[in-house]
Every structure is written in C-alpha cells, then in structure tokens.
Symmetry: C2
Amino acid sequence: MSFDLSCPVPFTATDTIEIGHGGGGMMTKRLVDGLFRPAFGAGPDDLNHDGAILDVGGELLAFTTDSFVVKPLFFPGGDIGSLAINGTVNDLAMCGAEPVGISVGLILEEGLPIAELQRIIGSMEAAAEAAGARIVTGDTKVVEHGKGDGLYINTSGVGRVIAPAPINPRQAAPGDMVILSGDIGRHGIAIMAVREGLGFETEIVSDCAPLIAPVKTLISAGVPLRCLRDLTRGGLATALIEIAETAGLTVRLDQKAIAISDAVRGACEILGLDPLYVANEGRFVAFVPASAAETALGIMRSFNPAAAVIGRVERRRERGEVVLDTIGGLRPLDLLSGEQLPRIC
Amino acid sequence: MSFDLSCPVPFTATDTIEIGHGGGGMMTKRLVDGLFRPAFGAGPDDLNHDGAILDVGGELLAFTTDSFVVKPLFFPGGDIGSLAINGTVNDLAMCGAEPVGISVGLILEEGLPIAELQRIIGSMEAAAEAAGARIVTGDTKVVEHGKGDGLYINTSGVGRVIAPAPINPRQAAPGDMVILSGDIGRHGIAIMAVREGLGFETEIVSDCAPLIAPVKTLISAGVPLRCLRDLTRGGLATALIEIAETAGLTVRLDQKAIAISDAVRGACEILGLDPLYVANEGRFVAFVPASAAETALGIMRSFNPAAAVIGRVERRRERGEVVLDTIGGLRPLDLLSGEQLPRIC
C-alpha cells in the first residue's frame, strides 16, 4: 500500500456522502474546498461569501442560491416556504443588495397533498411581499413517491448592490466590532422540538425573518459595513470561524454578551447541544469599525432590543480563529465535524 | 353536493401531487396556472417564457431557474451534470442572452458515492466551459438515504440580453416561419432506453448540448428573432402549443419536414410514443419573419444539417393552436394530460 501524495482531492474511491456533509461544518468544508471550488474555478481570492457579485455593464449585482430540505415542512414560526424566501433575501442583504428578482425551483414528491402545497405557496407569497421581493421565474419537477421528503425548494436571487463599498470577509480589519442582531438558537431548537416530538414547556418559535430592513437602514445611515453574515446551519460559531479564517484574523467573543433565551438555553442543556452551533434563520452579525459601532448598535436595537456588541476583531492569534472569553478563560471555537446531534437517546 | 363556482383554484382538499404534474402537459399547466401564477402575481401580460427579463439600471438581464431530477444520473451522451448546465444556458439563450453567472444548488442523498459526484461535477465544469459560462455561486444540502435519488441539481442563470429586440411568444406574428434546429426525440428515448433496460440495436445518444452558439450567430447576423424555445419535457408539440396559445395564433406544421432519425422513429413505434412529445435537450425552434428565414436556416444548418423550416404562423384557427399537415389531412395537436408512458408491458 502506498499513499498518492499528488492526489488533489481528499476522497477515496469508496467514500460516500454522509448526512454530516450537509451540516455546514468540517465535512461540508472538505467537500466544498476539495471538490467544488477546484472544479468551478474559485481561486485563492474567492471571497467565501453568501453570494457572488457580478458586474454587468457597470451595475453591481449580487447573485445567490440556496436549497431548502427542512423537515418537518411546517414548524412554529414558519414553514419551508417562508424559510426559502427569507433565506435568499437574507443572502442578498448580506451582500449589501436589495432583491430585484427571486426564482423558485420546486421538487415535489408524488403524493404531496395539494392543500399543503397551497399553504406553502401562500406563505412564500406573504414572505416575498414582506421582504419587498418579487418572484419572477420558476420551475416544477415531480419525483416518485419515496424519492423526496414532501417537497424541496430552491430559491435563487438577483439583487442590486446598494452598499457604497464591498461587504465581505476580506474587508474585516483588526479593531472592528462584531454586533449580533438578537438572541440565537431559536430556529434550530424549534425544528428539533417538533421533529423529535419534545414537549418543552414553552413553545420555542423559529426566528425565521427577512433581514433586508435593518441592512438597508444601516446603509442609509452611512454605517461602513465591513462584513455581514446571516447565521444559518452551523450557527454563530461556524459563521464567525468562516469569516475569521477567510480574513486571516481572530474574532474574540465575549460569552456573556451573546443573548440566548432561557427557553433555548434550557432546551440546549437537555439535548446536550452548544447554542453557539445551533441554526438560526433571522439573525446576522455585522462587522463595523469601532467608530461606527454605537450608531450601528442603535439601529440594530431599534429592530431587536437584544442586539449587542459581542466581540471584536484582532490580529490572528496562535490559538485559533474565534476565541470565546468565558469566566474560565479563553476557549477556542472550532468547526464541528458534521452536524450536532441532540442527546436524546 | 354542490359546486362552488367561485373557487379560483381547481383543486379539491384531497388532491395530491401526481407524477403527471411534472410532465409539462395539461396537469403541469393546471398547477402553474391555478396555483403558482396567481400567488406569485403573474398577470395576463406574463410572457410564459423560458426566463424573466429584469431591467437593472437600464441593463436588461435574463434570469432563469431549472431543477434536474433525471434518472439514471448517467446516460448515453451526457449525465445530470451536463444536462443541468446546458439546460440553464439554453434557457438564457432562448431569452437572447449570454450567460454572466450560473448558480448550482445540489441536493445530495446520503450514500451517494463521492466518485460519482466527482464525475458529475467534472462534467458540469466541462459543460460550463464549452458554453462560455461561469459557475459563480452554489449551495449543498444532504438528505437522508432514501429521501433523494442520488442527487438533484438546481441551476439558475443570470444572462446579459444581447438581442436588440424582445424575444418571446408575444412577438410571433402571422407569416413568421418556424425553423427547427435538428432532429427530435433523442434525449427522451436515450433516457427511456437506459431506464427500462431496452436493448435497441443502435444506441441512441442524447442530444444534450448548449445552444448559445447558434443563437449568438443568428443575433450577430441581424436575423430578427421573434421567439425562441428550446424543446425539453413535452417535446416539440408542447413547446409550440405553449407559444401559439400565448401568442393567440396558430402554428401550421408540415409533418414531413420534421426530422426524426430512423432509430428514434423505430424506438417510438416499439414503445408506442409520439416523437412530437418526446423530450429533447439540445434542440430549439426559432420564429422569424419570412424575409429572414433563408438566412436563419443557413446559419442553423451550419450548426446542424438537419435544421429545417417546419411550419409557419397563421391567424388563430378554430381547430387549435398547432395543426399538423399530414398525408391524411390536418391534425390538431393538444397538450397531453401528464407524461407519455412507454408501452412496455
């Protein structure tokens, strides 16, 4: 047996896709960095951002795509339809762009009740209207019973960049303050509670929401936005690790500044989950120069009183990309391997 | 029992999604017209076209989306990867646009061999390069084993409109000639042959191919393109019926002008299929004024010698949107209910 050290792709002939490849952690990164980026020509200057920026005749456009495979289709605070619209509107917002058009690609499973589809379509319509987005084109495919999970939705979005300067991880600089737009972990816990049939005393409602309004307000107020990132799978920790790694910097977080509701904290304790890694669908972090932090925080608090400055950017430390200041000292945060699994059996 | 005549949506509470809803025929139309168009605000001026046209700062963009759920993933002449790139590049081309950026949304099934994924990604890369398209953004999700079909791919595309005048069904006018870019039915028969394990004497290879080059050449030559449409699910007949219905006109086809290879014709006879409704992935029809037909045909023949003028546009006839001139007289063509099923058992 020998090792082929020249092999550029870190997979063996017998490797297969595992659930963890979709978790947003180390396994996802290995798939993206080892297979997709090399094939699709992403160079070292790749911004590792929520969307691509295209220059079309001098007009800057953001372009983004996301597929939604959430189970169950309906959950407290939303459904797969509102999630699919908000997810793509939010990715555009994180590029400093307002939506021009959204596409909807539906993969329907044979046997899906049309009444459920109607509810979901209605909720996409409502979410688009609330976000000021227009669904302009679509596609429908049907797969055999058992080959889907009710329905899968892809949404892609085209947006017009309204921010005056680039917003992406490479703009982050030492001294920047990191502001979190609200409390974390609601979406992931809401989904898990329904999926696993857990009867928490307080019903936890997903934070699923459009983020375009606060971003537009920040831009209108002239806040220099260095980097924005909505927190989705992998949670706050994964988002910050990705940004810090791309920027070649360290983010130092103040644990006690990170808002987590008692209900989410309690559920995480029961399930054995770290809320820093639990999914959100309506929260984002903004990296802004220290001089603009107060203005930015004021605006973000006007949308959600739980917004807070949770950390700052420093030159790269030996100990890691993201370090958490806890009572017990500095704790480096790492990407999880795959998905966090609830400790329920 | 009573009929609620005011109900705007033609579905009952117990209706479910059936395979036929994805066939591109009458059932698909009912779903799109009864549910998606009203919800997503498509008015009577909707162009019923392959993509949306967006005006961003005076720059006209085409925006399109398509999901690919083909089974098997690999087939003679291509695979789901080349199909996904060509499908979206072709939808942009049908809008008179050249690709600016393509997004890729992957839904991977747990257990998919990574070696297969690598092959498919490689073929997406090659197809993008051949079409002069750049994959600029992507997303990966993983679903549990048994909840997918290996993988599903969504591609969306943003293109810059390079045609000097609008290209869509409403531009078609009486007297226009209809030119078909080659022989029909190869893709659908190639897929069915592999799927059903049919051992035809001659292997039929999918026509899967990018169509941007002939469209760009037609535009450069100054051919006034009224309407373009690539032939996908539902085949030539469905594409023409949709165009004629949107235009409020009739297309009169000359049956003997429509090229069908002996292999496809033979397979269709055995399977009991009408080749006019069989899927293609690398063929299109162009509607051009009669004065430009010779130039257009010359260009299209330089790409495929089987290109031919197959019909012309007339004022709306009582008998239907598309009529086929056969030896036995005029035969009106209708949308199929769902999908054509091969007669194999």
